[in-house]
Symmetry: C2
Amino acid sequence: MNHKNNDLLYLEDLHVGQRFTSSVYELSEEQIKAFAAEFDPQPFHLDDAAAQNSVFRGLAASGWHTAAITMRLLVTGKMRFAAGTIGLGVELEWLLPVRLGDRLHVESEITDILPSRTKADRGVVTVRSVTFNQDEDEVQRLISKVLVFRRSR
Amino acid sequence: MNHKNNDLLYLEDLHVGQRFTSSVYELSEEQIKAFAAEFDPQPFHLDDAAAQNSVFRGLAASGWHTAAITMRLLVTGKMRFAAGTIGLGVELEWLLPVRLGDRLHVESEITDILPSRTKADRGVVTVRSVTFNQDEDEVQRLISKVLVFRRSR
């Protein structure tokens, strides 16, 4: 990368193949249960005994919690777009359960850059982000379409 | 629907075209800012003045917050699968900003049912869920692949 860590990124700064690695987020049992109580109140995210008898075979974070943590790791990392990370849409795949005590990090790669045909000041950037646990297992795959502006705006 | 409201749904209970409507969730400014502070700490989700000067032209909920609320409305609604709503993956599109005071609801339709070729006790069900605000504007489209079990398991 030819920019400093805290520089904001414009469309001109990006290229296909550019990679970013996030910091690490450690997930507690309390966080798993609190998120689930608010947004995904299903027994396997809330109750240890019920979770043991579920397909997850133990307490597992909501996939939406994993997605939200991934967003936090992305927007607090080095892939900082100048107008913010404005997602138009995503594809999301959950591969493995996320457990209490898991330490997650995200590795991202820019896979496509499409300048707008109608608005000269912007483009749509495709970012592929894989969320890993501390064993380097892939727990989530995310493909995001993000709106990014040009410096000359 | 040929089942009672609180019945749990098995693969045999589902058919393509089956529809479900959720209850309503009203979103406050405090909730928008609290979710953003934890998972999507960008100025246009946290600060009114910064939000006015962003592409959102006013405080907007994180798209991940809208997705999480959608999950809550789904799992607390009538589309209750017997083993829970176990998502394998989704496609998600954000169409309009969600604002403080917005009252969201979700309309879902089963669009595909694919029995497993290798495991006789289960199948993958595709559900298309649209999240609407109080003006009946579509704010989010979600296509989910969900693991659903047969009754005979």
